[in-house]
Amino acid sequence: MTVKVRFFASLAETMGRREMELPLEPGTTVSSIWAALTADKPMPQGALCAVNHDYCTLEQPLADGDEVAFFPPVTGG
């Protein structure tokens, strides 16, 4: 299966990209995507993740076609 991974704001700069397609084994979780893309670096303090536009936990399992996003604490308003 394939998921789309997106990064925003300072995390996009740190990762050096804004989005990518990633082939995965079924049942892969959000945390294992992060680990695979960063060589097991911890997530930055306060960083957030979302699947299909809803906030999620790192344990969330993914399905084919999901859009996963990683981003720093939000600063709108």
Partner: protein
């Protein structure tokens, strides 16, 4: 209930007028309007700021703001709610956000307006990057909320 993300400057008073014009006969049932407008300062963390770029997550932003408006409508007795938020290039003095709540009574309008604003700052996926004399920098945190939230108010 309306949510709007805009890439161009907006006029909060015009937004309120235009939104209220849609009430029609229902206008006579609305006794209170509370609104909050947040604008860009020309200083932050002790430095002069000349401009900033507001990045967001298209799709998720709309979704989060719509959910927020729906939660407020379920929690308080509201006739309507409007949220407008700027994105893109922003200059000092520009308005960034408008939250407006209409209700039959002021308590519901006041409380919901503040709660929505505080929650927006913690859940809506926007990020500010400021330009200062020393270069560009990401704003890393919002000021903490004081009171008014969805859980603690009676």
């Amino acid at each position: 209930m309306a949510v709007r993300i805009c890439a161009e400057p907006f006029d909060p008073l015009e937004e309120l007028r235009r939104h209220q014009a849609g009430f029609g006969a229902g206008r006579a049932k609305v006794g209170a309007l509370a609104s909050f407008v947040g604008s860009m300062r020309d200083f932050n963390e002790g430095d002069a700021v000349s401009s900033m770029v507001l990045e967001h997550y298209p799709g998720m932003t709309d979704r989060q703001l719509e959910e927020l408006a729906a939660r407020a409508a379920a929690r308080w007795q509201l006739a309507d709610i409007l949220i407008v938020h700027r994105v893109g290039e922003i200059l000092p003095g520009d308005d960034i956000v408008l939250v407006a709540t209409w209700s039959a009574h002021r308590a519901h309008a006041f409380e919901s307006c503040r709660a929505v604003m505080e929650e927006l700052k913690h859940s809506a996926p926007f990020w500010k990057k400021e330009r200062t004399a020393a270069g560009e920098r990401w704003v890393t945190r919002n000021t903490p909320a004081n009171s008014a939230d969805f859980e603690t108010r009676g």
